[in-house]
Subunit: 127 residues, 6 copies
């Protein structure tokens, strides 16, 4: 039985990540549907749905963290798309990535920027 | 000879970090004044001074990254202060820290929140 | 309104972490009670309460991860206590920490072992 | 001259990692055979051969740590295979990975789960 | 307008990284030329150009750090090339990577060694 | 029975870390003497004793890695002492730490520099 948190999470996920989010969820159906459910419920149903911080700021925080951590490139790409989806400008996103050179070093910033280049190219090919 | 980048950086640092920033710079004078100079020039003179992202969003990005990385508690505290200084609300900052539970785990979020509690207490004692 | 997940989580937390867990939750009441609630609901209400892996194995996994990550010493101590609480032997816990020298290097293993020494001493003083 | 530690390590490696372990060792023969020797001697000859923790628990600890660290996907795959080889069930391994969402965030858990999906598929194709 | 730091940086970059460095800079021209400029100015114009540490020791430090961090494989490869370019021997570089097994664990050292194997093979194919 | 590796390791440890190394080993005697033995045998008996890289370069590599990783401050201090013990100059060590701002960000470099300041002060008080 699916909770209301699940429904709220699905709605948030659709708004933020569009098809990219759906694909992640689908890709978990065979191996571990419970992880898909938790991913919808906790990050999207509980956290992103909270008032107190707009979605653009939430995506700025997520892009910053994933660029700095450096070992989650697939999730970084999902959230670079998400940042654009919720209305962050290309310039704002580049500034966040650039700023990570200060806190996590130049390699992390470079790899974040190359990921963003991939994302922009994929979107222009689809679009 | 100090560059214009240095002067711009000092100005940004004063605006953002107030006394906390000055203390970091002073504390480097004996051991490595060049690191103080670079810290003023590159992060503050080059990066924070750029247009394209407002200071509140820059601090949201920095608080997110330092909470997620987890091993830079003194710098996280400086930037929790900085976030308040440039106009982020307590609620916004708490939301950023809370959100890091999704990307870096609950321990990182908990330690970030405890750092924020310390910062708020220090400010109320001074204030 | 608190969910059933919250009640299950509280029960798990009491079983696993005893007073240490309660103290963490209490310490969040002023700064961010919602993080306390999420910490009870998701890690303890959702994850630790799942069948499929016994609590001793869960604590072995957590001690391993927190020792390897190296930047969450307070949470590592909570779970070193928890591992003892759910029936892991001192020897088993030492072996897990020792093994982390292979995957995260000797400094992480050394700091994990010193944390365990602190935990054992605190328990002997209380006990 | 090879030590007894080397012989014990080779035996442990065969028991735990099967062919995957042998391939890692072979792949080092040209570039740095000494690293192959140390990998056999210290992790397998010294650590995994110790009494005090059964091999299933050792693999649970290793899978947890490598999932949490997030930057060692090839070694994670070797140990997901190893965990199955020494008798951990698919369910137990999934639970360990799932639990890492709590300590290292959802991206680390997602990438660990996708690695496990690859491992299961490779084994079914060979098997 | 480009600073003298930029010119010094370009010179250092050519000396250290040869074509590999140029390619990184070129690859940023479309997405974020400012990051290319900062990468030339701060790391190469400010830091590598400093007296007080010879270039061989600088590359030993960089190879050590990038091997230990484990999530910057493209930059590690650039600096494995750079280390050879400035006169470090293959043996010295292998020793640095090997030593990282102590501080960051065996997986980080293994992945560093495999990166070095790729670099040596690429150089022998070109050379 | 202690191996020759143990004896070589003890000798290396005395040469490199002096009393600081001995204290680490002593501090493990109660909680886990086997970890003390492994720490002497593998890092010092196997790795530091190898030809192919001089001790000054080895300490440069270690200081770089521990500064970059950022979560091993006690071990970083031991090796800042060690670097001085084997003949690295204060300037060389500062350059290594400074350079880490490029690869691991400014907070890691700042915390490394403050650790070095502590080490220099402790040595001047003893000396």
């Amino acid at each position: 039985m699916q909770s209301t948190r699940y429904e709220i999470g699905l709605e948030q996920l659709a708004k933020i990540d569009g098809e990219a989010g759906e694909k992640v969820i689908e890709s978990l159906q065979d191996i571990c549907p419970d992880l898909a459910q938790y991913t919808i419920e906790y990050p999207f149903g509980d956290i992103y749905a909270r008032p107190g911080l707009d979605l653009q700021s939430r995506e700025i925080a997520t892009v910053a963290a994933l660029t700095a951590l450096g070992h989650c490139q697939p999730q970084l790409k999902v959230h670079l798309n998400a940042a654009l989806n919720v209305g962050c400008s290309e310039t704002q996103i580049k500034e966040v990535i650039l700023q990570m050179s200060v806190y996590a070093g130049f390699p992390a910033a470079l790899n974040g920027m190359f990921a963003f280049q991939d994302v922009l190219q994929e979107r222009s090919e689809i679009g």
